[in-house]
């Protein structure tokens, strides 16, 4: 890892080589324990040509209540270079009661690069009955390939102002999961078969779809985190 610029409470581990050969694993740590009213996290990741990287968040991202009405903001910008590969393991984002959170993720790919990106949003600390008690949750993920915008996943949840249980909304689901797969080899994947496997094996509601260019998006809606 040639350059690391960091400022507490955010910290990146050094590159660990414990998996397959030539694959660097980097942990992103957040030493404060969570984001509090008005906090801001900025993460910029640049994956150089031919690099193979797995990034792992050390723990769930907890968003504490915002009694002062200030919004916590997280902005992630990722660039994946030619023939490079990035895997981002999902850790759950947990907005607590009265939390206000805004996150924006911008991913720039080349047609030769590979990406596996995951994300899970929790309704709150569900096991203690804190379910959709947050104020607002805004999330935008945009995926670009060679400068072209190929996907924008934009959510704006305000449980106090909308009926999330209505038909067509989240209904009984409490957890929202997404996986994005971008790869020059994506065309060879049989998405119909993957969809079929989901239908047979899972109580989680799942669907998979092809995006423009060589990308696939998969959405999970689940009542339980564990099942997902």
């Amino acid at each position: 890892m040639p350059f690391v610029f960091q400022q507490p409470p955010l910290k990146a581990s050094r590159a660990l080589y414990d998996g397959p050969k030539d694959r660097a694993t980097v942990y992103i740590m957040e030493s404060s324990g969570g984001m509090v009213a008005g906090d801001r996290n900025d993460i910029t990741i640049t994956i150089g040509k031919d690099a193979n990287v797995t990034m792992i968040q050390q723990s769930a991202l907890k968003i504490y209540p915002s009694p002062n009405e200030k919004v916590c903001v997280q902005e992630i910008v990722v660039k994946v270079g030619e023939h490079a590969r990035l895997e981002w393991m999902p850790e759950v984002i947990i907005p607590f009661r009265e939390a206000r959170f805004e996150m924006s993720t911008t991913i720039e790919m080349c047609s030769t690069s590979t990406l596996i990106w995951g994300e899970i949003i929790a309704p709150g600390r569900e096991k203690r009955g804190e379910i959709f008690d947050f104020e607002s949750f805004r999330s935008k993920l945009s995926l670009h390939m060679d400068g072209q915008l190929i996907a924008l996943d934009s959510l704006s949840l305000k449980p106090g102002e909308m009926n999330l249980q209505a038909i067509g909304m989240l209904e009984n689901a409490q957890y929202i999961g997404s996986i994005w797969v971008v790869s020059p080899n994506v065309q060879t994947l049989d998405v119909r078969e993957i969809q079929q496997t989901f239908l047979n094996h899972s109580s989680v509601k799942v669907a998979i779809t092809r995006l423009d260019r060589n990308a696939i998006h998969c959405r999970f809606l689940s009542e339980e985190q564990w099942e997902m």
């Binding site: 924008l152 959510l155 999330l164 038909i167 067509g168 909304m169 079929q196 669907a207 779809t209 959405r219």
Partner: protein, 246 residues
């Protein structure tokens, strides 16, 4: 001409509908006989129907409300409004990026293709009616691949070029899309014609409220919270038998 422009910039003036052919033309492009193929798309509703999740009038009403308030309002309605404004400024680059964004938010492959196909049909139908240089340019961009030709964008461009009232155009678009969905549900579930009429009637207030709220929204507000409808659109292509293309 100036008078006409002033008249047509009145906001949602449903009480005082102007007696002129411009308004009739706006009605004409929303008529169910206008051949853009809306009746062939269910936008994910068919998955709900096959999973037996829409079988009462109340289910249909709730589904339409979600689609209206969380999909259309924060999606195509904003795109129409923005395309209308950018056409007034004759900003071709802004229109091209709107078209790109319009495809990017439609994550489900079939929703994206439906939007392009309806746009294509709309373009084919209106081109012989008018001679607008901007529309010919847009057609050229679609042919060269610079634009995909999403319906909401070409619809916004067309409404602006014709000086249709912007808010009325958005409202009528919401109305005709919801009407199309209800008619498709009447055929596919099936429901009686009267059920369809009653559901649409119960939604009229909601449609005009949503149209009103869209006026304050911009591209920054684009979102899609109707996640189960999106999931259904994604699953639609894998259904065993299908009445609708999307």
């Amino acid at each position: 001409m100036k008078q006409l422009k002033n008249d047509s910039s009145n906001h949602l003036n449903t009480v005082d509908i102007h007696i002129n052919s411009t308004f009739l033309h706006l009605l004409q492009i929303h008529d169910s006989a206008f051949p853009i193929g809306n009746y062939t798309h269910s936008y994910g509703m068919e998955t709900f129907i096959q999973e037996n999740r829409i079988h009462t009038k109340e289910h249909l009403l709730e589904f339409c409300k979600t689609f209206l308030k969380h999909n259309l309002a924060y999606g195509d309605a904003i795109f129409i409004q923005e395309a209308y404004k950018e056409t007034e400024k004759r900003d071709m680059n802004a229109l091209l990026s709107l078209d790109e964004l319009c495809g990017a938010v439609k994550l489900a492959k079939e929703s994206r293709e439906a939007s392009i196909n309806v746009g294509k049909q709309f373009m084919r139908t209106i081109l012989p009616l008018h001679e607008y240089p901007l529309l010919s340019d847009w057609q050229a961009h679609i042919k060269s691949g610079k634009a995909k030709g999403h319906y909401a964008i070409v619809f916004g461009i067309f409404c602006s070029l014709n000086n249709f009232d912007r808010d009325q155009a958005v409202m009528l678009h919401l109305y005709s899309t919801i009407n199309g969905l209800i008619q498709n549900a009447v055929r596919a579930v099936p429901f009686g014609q009267n059920t369809g009429v009653q559901v649409l009637h119960e939604l009229l207030e909601c449609i005009s409220e949503v149209a009103n709220s869209v006026r304050g929204l911009t591209v920054q507000d684009i979102s899609n919270n109707a996640l189960h409808i999106e999931l259904a659109s994604m699953k639609h292509e894998y259904l065993f038998s299908r009445l609708f293309i999307s």
